[in-house]
């Protein structure tokens, strides 16, 4: 939420005059800052344009590089086969069901951890566009024992980067830390995953920032075009057909309960892949992750909880009413069963209805 737009702009002014045209920003970020509407007059330009040729020191003797036959065409490749062994990650499983993939890279004392949940915008109920991104923003805004500022301060003390975001099919919480800080950083990551606070004051503050971002989006024609394209591709009733980041109306309508429910439904170990790359061994990082994930309750949710539709992505002509029970098994970061719904787990059956008249997965 800090400065991507301005930073990008500064870069453009400073040095970013690259030879290739910038590619459009992906639509998944709210208020992405590309642009296609009529240009504003640069109020900045002046008109004192001299059109003389270059002046300066006297011209050099225009010596040419001698041509040589070997320059005439592309040289052949060097002899020998390229040796490349694609890194094969070590795969482990935590007791709570989360898959862990570890790839060791020891060149720089940095470790990167990417926790991927296999649900993103496709888990948003109709009328709640922007929910997945909202949840992602909220999980890094503080935990039950750490306020926004406390969490940020503890991360900054370690120079640890923590960010979360949602795409069409995934929600991701990513961390990048110095090797020395790995134990502390994993402790913080686990707290973020297990105990996000969703304090109403924080939710309201982030909501206002999101609304500011949506207002800014009106000045980014590229983002508006991407929204339009998504609507045409997927239709108005499909989660992927909604404007990226939602609309002011949907963002206003998202409640703390919506946020909690989404998090509790999808931010689960058995819906997660934890990828680790960096200056660490699999044993080290799995040990740390195991300790961190053991602090919460390991009680799983009743499997009945999952007897509902997994978000199903189909074109709008075939509304997502898939009944196939998901392969999700029970599992918990620790927080799930404490906020039990009557069925023992938060379920979406009442709200998850994209197009069908009957709630998806209600049988």
């Amino acid at each position: 939420m800090t400065t991507p737009r301005i930073a990008a702009l500064l870069l453009a002014v400073l040095a970013a005059c690259s030879h290739e045209q910038p590619r459009p920003t992906p639509a998944s970020t709210p208020a992405a800052s590309s642009a296609t509407t009529p240009a504003s007059e640069p109020s900045a330009t002046t008109d004192s344009k001299a059109t003389t040729t270059q002046s300066g020191p006297p011209l050099y003797a225009a010596q040419e590089t001698p041509d040589a036959p070997f320059r005439a065409e592309k040289p052949p490749p060097l002899p020998g086969q390229l040796r490349f062994a694609a890194p094969v990650p070590v795969e482990r499983k935590l007791r709570n069901g989360a898959r862990v993939l570890v790839s060791e890279l020891h060149a720089v004392p940095i470790v990167s951890i990417d926790v991927l949940f296999a649900t993103g915008v496709n888990g948003e109920p109709l009328g709640k566009a922007g929910l997945a991104g909202f949840v992602a923003n909220m999980v890094t805004e503080g935990t039950k024992t750490r306020t926004t500022t406390q969490l940020a301060a503890e991360l900054d003390e370690q120079a640890t980067d923590l960010a979360a975001g949602a795409g069409n099919e995934t929600s991701r919480v990513r961390m990048n830390t110095l090797k020395e800080s790995l134990p502390k950083s994993i402790e913080l990551l686990a707290d973020v995953l297990q105990n996000p606070a969703f304090r109403p004051g924080d939710v309201d503050r982030i909501r206002k920032l999101k609304l500011a971002g949506l207002a800014q989006k009106q000045g980014s024609p590229g983002a508006l075009a991407a929204d339009e394209a998504a609507k045409l591709l997927y239709g108005e009733k499909h989660p992927w057909g909604q404007p990226a980041g939602g609309t002011p109306e949907t963002v206003e309508s998202i409640t703390v309960d919506d946020l909690r429910r989404f998090r509790e439904s999808w931010y689960r170990p058995n819906n997660a892949i934890i990828s680790v790359a960096g200056d660490v061994t699999a044993d080290e990082v799995v040990a740390l992750l195991s300790i961190a994930s053991a602090s919460g309750s390991r009680r799983g949710c009743p499997s009945s909880c999952f007897r509902r539709s997994r978000p199903s992505i189909t074109a709008s002509s075939t509304p997502s009413t898939s009944r196939a029970p998901p392969s999700l098994r029970s599992g918990s970061w620790g927080g799930c069963s404490r906020r039990a719904t009557p069925t023992g787990c938060p379920c979406w059956s009442r709200t998850r209805s994209w197009a069908g008249s009957s709630p998806a997965g209600s049988t």
Binding site: M1, T2, R5, L9, L10, A12, V13, L14, A15, A16, C17, H19, P22, A35, T37, A39, P42, S43, A44, T45, T46, K49, T52, T53, Q54, S55, L59, A62, Q63, T65, D67, A68, F70, R71, A72, K74, P77, L78, P79, V108, I110, T149, Q150, A153, E154, D156, E157, A159, L178, E180, R205, K208, L209, L211, A212, Q216, Q218, G219, S220, P221
Partner: protein, 446 residues
């Protein structure tokens, strides 16, 4: 204040300290024609990043030719005597990360190729350096003039707050300063560039003695030396290039401007001062101050404007150091319903606080660590290491400067940060830029 103190009380625990800084290993030599070569082996992946810096940028432009260094960079992709379509050749050999960029002070060209295709990358870079002119023609120039003009629309004119940032260059660097109109330049001037301009610029600035070639990756040094000798040694030395030395009149009063922006939806306010040259002794303190003010959620301006008062949607500060003198900027973008005046008052309050009361050691330590960690992260990519070697070579003639670079950041004290603010952020000599949404389409408060 109290809130901030609490934050730090909670957060003080053992700061991580790196046992040993990574080193950038390299060998350096120079060809008789003056080309500097830096070789840095890294055999983890079967690829080589090739990165050429020419020590020429907007700083070398003449009045009436804003944007020319960048336009010229585009011409270097338009083909040469033996390589009509360099991009296609690179794509055929599986190259990645192929591009170039122009800044105020330098221009670079780079690509990453599979190890066994190193000869092709060397050949193409030698084509650029030695054989651009034979196939240059008006049609190629026309195409690139239009591409670059469009790039300006895309990157500046059609981006919220882009015109404001452009205006900044004009205020800081009035004509005949070469930074006038920033790197991207004025479209009329871009359109007026001639073939003679291109030829002259090439002969004047693109000799091997004004360039450094860096290889990072999986290569055999003896083979690389042989290839570089073969393709570069007979490119004739160019004229000696005089170091740019244009001076801009320093900001000597408070300059206030308000700009209407058709794309911006929210007001923005920013303060700008004259800044530094790269590797100035005061640069680390300035970077630490930027980090203390706007680096993440614990930063002073984020805490004050976004968390506490909730008047801003964004805060930012930066300290770009440039060869002819950079600038320092601190800015904020409003939240719907809030005004530039509110932002201005709070920015002023935060700056006054630093000047009067200084900054805490915890803040400074945290900022320093984040800066150092950022530098380490940048070392993960071979292409970034290549740029870093070239940076140190160009400004300091010392590609192995990394440990000392990190050390100068580690040495920053709270006193230095306070002194920086007092010295470089005077209240009576600065630019105050306000950007407001044009017309009546101001976003309404929720």
């Amino acid at each position: 204040m109290l809130r901030r103190m609490l934050v730090f009380a909670v957060a003080i625990c053992a700061l991580p300290v790196l046992a040993k800084d990574p080193e950038l290993k390299f060998e350096k030599y120079r060809l008789p024609n003056g080309l500097t070569v830096l070789l840095s082996e890294d055999h983890r992946l079967p690829q080589v990043s090739v990165n050429v810096w020419y020590h020429v940028g907007a700083a070398n432009q003449t009045p009436g030719r804003s944007g020319f260094a960048h336009l010229f960079e585009h011409m270097m992709f338009s083909g040469s005597k033996h390589a009509k379509d360099p991009d296609a050749i690179l794509e055929q050999v599986g190259a990645s990360n192929m591009n170039g960029s122009t800044s105020f002070d330098r221009t670079n060209y780079y690509e990453t190729v599979p190890s066994n295709e190193l000869p092709t990358a060397i050949w193409l870079e030698s084509e650029r350096m030695g054989f651009l002119l034979p196939t240059l023609d008006e049609q190629k120039l026309k195409i690139q003039r239009d591409v670059v003009s469009n790039e300006r629309h895309q990157r500046i004119d059609n981006v919220p707050y882009g015109p404001t940032q452009q205006r900044l260059c004009d205020l800081l660097y009035p004509l005949p300063h070469p930074y006038y109109e920033c790197v991207i330049g004025d479209i009329k001037e871009i359109q007026s560039a001639s073939l003679d301009d291109v030829r002259d610029f090439f002969r004047r600035y693109y000799g091997p003695n004004n360039a450094s070639l860096v290889l990072v990756g999986d290569f055999d040094p003896a083979t690389a030396r042989r290839l570089i000798e073969k393709y570069f040694a007979d490119i004739p030395r160019g004229p000696e290039v005089k170091k740019p030395d244009a001076k801009a009149p320093p900001v000597s009063s408070v300059v206030k401007e308000t700009l209407q922006d058709r794309l911006a939806q929210l007001p923005r306010f920013q303060l700008v001062w004259n800044g530094l040259k790269p590797f100035d002794d005061d640069e680390p303190a300035g970077d630490v101050l930027s980090e203390v003010l706007t680096g993440g959620k614990t930063s002073r301006l984020y805490q004050l404007l976004i968390l506490e008062k909730q008047v801003a949607s964004n805060v930012d500060a930066s300290n770009p150091a440039l060869g002819l003198g950079g600038w320092i900027q601190i800015g904020a973008t409003a939240r719907p319903g809030h005004t530039p005046d509110e932002l201005r008052a709070l920015l002023q309050q935060a700056i006054d606080d630093v000047k009067q009361n200084g900054v805490g050691p915890e803040e400074v330590e945290r900022a320093k660590l984040k800066i150092v960690a950022g530098q380490l992260r940048s070392l993960e990519r071979g292409s970034a290491r290549a740029d870093l070697l070239n940076t140190y070579e160009m400004w300091l003639g010392d590609p192995g400067y990394l440990p000392r670079d990190l050390a100068r950041y580690r040495a920053v004290t709270p006193q230095a940060v306070q002194a920086f603010a007092r010295k470089y952020l005077p209240d009576d000599r600065r630019i105050e830029l306000t950007t407001v949404p044009a017309g009546k389409r101001t976003a309404s408060a929720p």
